[in-house]
C-alpha cells in the first residue's frame, strides 16, 4: 500500500505539474521533471494529451521516460516523427503547441529564465548549456509551465542573462513586444506553486505544498516573495498518482540499468 502522506518534494512538484495539464493539450516536453509530469498526466487524467518532443516525435507515448529528448522509445511510440526544421517551423512556430514546459538554471520574479551563463557572457564564471529550444518555446507556445527546484541561487533578484523571455519587466512587457501568447502562467517547485499576478505579472505564491511554511519558501528565494491573499495548500498527491509515477520511474530505472 502506498502512503499518500509520504511523498518527496520532487514527487509533489511533478504531480502538481501533471495536474496542470488538460486532456486536450498539445505539449512541448523538455527532459527531466517536465517529461515525468507530462507522462504522468497521460497515464492518469489526460490520456488524450499530445506529447511532442523537439527531436521531432509527435504524439509519443513512451512506456519509460527517455534520458534524452531523442531516445528511440519516443520515435517508436509516436504517431509520426518529423525533421527538426519542420518541428520548429510548422509545429512550434506554427502556433500549434498549447503548453510548453521549461526549466532553467535561474529564474527571476517575472519568470524570465537563464540557462546560458553565470558571470559575463564573454568571460563566464559558469558556462551553462544555452538556450536550445527555449527562446522560441517561450514565445510561441500558448502558455508556458515552469518546473524548478527552489533555492536562493536559482530564484534570483537579477538574471545575468535572459535566455528565454517570461514577463520581462512585468506588466504589459509581452504585449509591448507584440507577443500574443500568455508566457509563463505557472511555476511548479518542490515547495510551492507560483503564478504571475494579474496586473504586475510578478510571480506570486498561490499554493504551499503540505507542511511547507511561508518562511521556508522565502528562505529559498532571492527576492522578497509575494503571497496570494487566498493562499491555499497544494492538494497532496493521491495514492494513484504516486503509484503511477513510481511505476513509471521504476520502469525507467530498470530500462536504463538493463542496457549496456
Amino acid at each position: 500500500m502506498i502512503n499518500p502522506q509520504a511523498f518527496t518534494p520532487n514527487e509533489i512538484m511533478t504531480v502538481a505539474a501533471a495536474r496542470a495539464l488538460r486532456n486536450s493539450d498539445v505539449c512541448f516536453v523538455g527532459i527531466g521533471a517536465p517529461s515525468a509530469a507530462c507522462n504522468l498526466a497521460r497515464l492518469t487524467h489526460a490520456p488524450g494529451i499530445t506529447l511532442i518532443y523537439e527531436s521531432g516525435t509527435i504524439g509519443t507515448r513512451p512506456q519509460v521516460l527517455p534520458l534524452s529528448i531523442g531516445d528511440g522509445e519516443l520515435c517508436e511510440t509516436a504517431l509520426t516523427t518529423v525533421s527538426v526544421p519542420e518541428m520548429f517551423r510548422y509545429w512550434l512556430q506554427g502556433g500549434r503547441i498549447t503548453v510548453g514546459f521549461l526549466g532553467g538554471a535561474q529564474i527571476d520574479r517575472y519568470a524570465n529564465l537563464n540557462t546560458t551563463v553565470v558571470g559575463p557572457y564573454d568571460k563566464p564564471k559558469v558556462r551553462l548549456p544555452g538556450g536550445g529550444g527555449a527562446p522560441e518555446i517561450a514565445s510561441s507556445c500558448g502558455e508556458v509551465f515552469i518546473t524548478m527546484t527552489m533555492s536562493s541561487r536559482t530564484f534570483v533578484e537579477r538574471l545575468p542573462f535572459i535566455t528565454s523571455f517570461g514577463h520581462g519587466a512585468g506588466g504589459a512587457s509581452r504585449e509591448a513586444l507584440g507577443l500574443s501568447t500568455k508566457g509563463p502562467t505557472r511555476v511548479m517547485t518542490d515547495l510551492c506553486v507560483l503564478e504571475p499576478a494579474a496586473d504586475t505579472r510578478e510571480l506570486t505564491v498561490v499554493s504551499l505544498h503540505p507542511g511547507i511554511t511561508r518562511e521556508a519558501v522565502q528562505a529559498q528565494c532571492g527576492w522578497p516573495l509575494r503571497f496570494a491573499d487566498e493562499l491555499i495548500e497544494t492538494t497532496p498527491p493521491t495514492a494513484e498518482e504516486l503509484r503511477v509515477l513510481r511505476e513509471l520511474q521504476d520502469r525507467t530505472d530498470r530500462a536504463h540499468r538493463e542496457e549496456a
Binding site: 527532459i31 527531466g32 523537439e54 527531436s55 521531432g56 516525435t57 527517455p66 534520458l67 534524452s68 529528448i69 531523442g70 531516445d71 528511440g72 519516443l74 520515435c75 517508436e76 516523427t81 525533421s83 527538426v84 526544421p85 518541428m87 520548429f88 517551423r89 512550434l92 512556430q93 546560458t116 557572457y121 564573454d122 563566464p124 564564471k125 559558469v126 558556462r127 548549456p129 544555452g130 538556450g131 536550445g132 529550444g133 527555449a134 527562446p135 522560441e136 517561450a138 514565445s139 510561441s140 542573462f161 535572459i162 535566455t163 528565454s164 523571455f165 520581462g168 512587457s173 509581452r174 513586444l177 507584440g178 507577443l179 536504463h256 540499468r257 542496457e259 549496456a260
Partner: protein, 282 residues
C-alpha cells in the same frame, strides 16, 4: 556520385585543417566513429557546427581540434554539463574556443536555408532575449507586405557535413529513418559530405514512397562503419547507450581522466571498435 571509401580515406580526402565541419545527428545517428577519425588524424583549427554538441564535440574540443564552435545547446542530455566544452570556454584549455551561439530554431532554419540555397532564413524568434546582444550574426528582416520585423540568421553552408545513416545501397543512395534531425539539410547545405552507414545492401527496403533518402549524387563519400553511432544509436540496429552518457560525466570531469580515456579508446583504436560497442547495446 558517392564514392565508397574507408572512413580514414574519406576523412583524409574531404576534411582539411581550418574547415567548417558539421557533424549532425539529433540524439539519434550521431557520427561518433567519424568524429574519432577526425581526432586520430589530428585535424586542427576546425570550426565545429552542431545544434547539440553532445559527447562527440566534447571529445573533439578536449583534444584541441576546434578553434570555434557554432551551436545551440551544449550539454550532456539528461546528465549535465559537457566538461571539456566548459573547460575550453571558461579556462581556455587545451586552447581558447570562440563560440557562436544560437537557438535550436535559428540553427534548424539556418541549415534549412543552406539546403534551399538561400542566403538567410527569417523566423519568429529571439523575442525579448539577450542572445542578439552578444551574437552579431542575429539580425532582423522586415516583411515587405506587413512591415513586421522577424529574426534573421545567415544560412549555414559548411565545408563538410558528416552524418551517420542506417544503410546505403550499392549505387550509394542513403536511407535515414526514425529521428532524422537536420541531417538531410546539413548534407544538402554543405560543399562536401561524408556518410557513415551501418551496412551496404542490395536493396534499400525503404519504408514507403516518401522515405528520407539522400541520392548518391548528393553525397561525396560513404564509409561502412557498423556501430558508428555508438553511444548514440541507430534505430533498427542498436539502442542508445544511456549508461555511457552517464559514465562520460566522470570520465570528462578531469583533464587527466579524459586524456587517458581518449588515448585508450580513440587514439589507439580504429573504427572497427564500434561494431562490438554497438553489439552490446543491441
Amino acid at each position: 556520385m558517392a564514392t565508397l571509401l574507408s572512413l580514414a580515406e574519406a576523412v583524409a580526402l574531404h576534411v582539411h585543417d581550418g574547415d567548417v565541419v558539421a557533424l549532425e545527428g539529433f540524439t539519434h545517428l550521431i557520427p561518433f566513429a567519424a568524429g574519432h577519425e577526425l581526432i586520430r588524424q589530428r585535424r586542427k583549427h576546425l570550426t565545429l557546427v552542431r545544434m547539440t554538441p553532445d559527447l562527440i564535440y566534447d571529445q573533439l574540443i578536449g583534444m584541441g581540434a576546434a578553434d570555434r564552435l557554432v551551436f545551440s545547446w551544449g550539454g550532456n542530455p539528461g546528465v549535465g554539463s559537457l566538461h571539456r566544452l566548459r573547460d575550453a570556454v571558461e579556462n581556455g584549455w587545451p586552447q581558447p574556443l570562440a563560440i557562436e551561439e544560437h537557438s535550436h530554431a535559428a540553427m534548424a532554419n539556418a541549415y534549412e536555408a543552406g539546403a534551399a540555397n538561400l542566403p538567410f532564413a527569417a523566423f519568429r524568434g529571439y523575442i525579448g532575449v539577450d542572445l542578439p546582444k552578444v551574437n552579431p550574426r542575429i539580425r532582423t528582416v522586415e516583411c515587405p507586405f506587413t512591415g513586421e520585423k522577424l529574426a534573421a540568421i545567415p544560412a549555414l553552408r559548411p565545408d563538410v557535413a558528416i552524418i551517420h545513416a542506417q544503410r546505403a545501397d550499392r549505387a550509394g543512395n542513403v536511407l535515414l529513418e526514425g529521428i532524422v534531425g537536420v541531417q538531410k539539410q546539413a548534407v544538402l547545405a554543405a560543399k562536401r559530405s561524408i556518410v557513415t552507414v551501418e551496412e551496404v545492401v542490395d536493396r534499400l527496403d525503404a519504408p514507403g514512397y516518401n522515405a528520407t533518402i539522400l541520392p548518391s549524387w548528393t553525397i561525396s563519400s560513404i564509409a561502412v562503419v557498423p556501430g558508428g553511432a555508438y553511444p548514440s544509436y541507430a534505430q533498427g540496429y542498436y539502442r542508445r547507450a544511456n549508461s555511457f552518457y552517464k559514465k562520460w560525466d566522470a570520465i570528462a570531469r578531469e583533464r587527466e581522466s579524459f586524456l587517458a580515456w581518449m588515448q585508450q579508446n580513440v587514439i589507439e583504436q580504429g573504427p572497427e571498435a564500434f561494431q562490438s560497442h554497438a553489439a552490446a547495446a543491441r
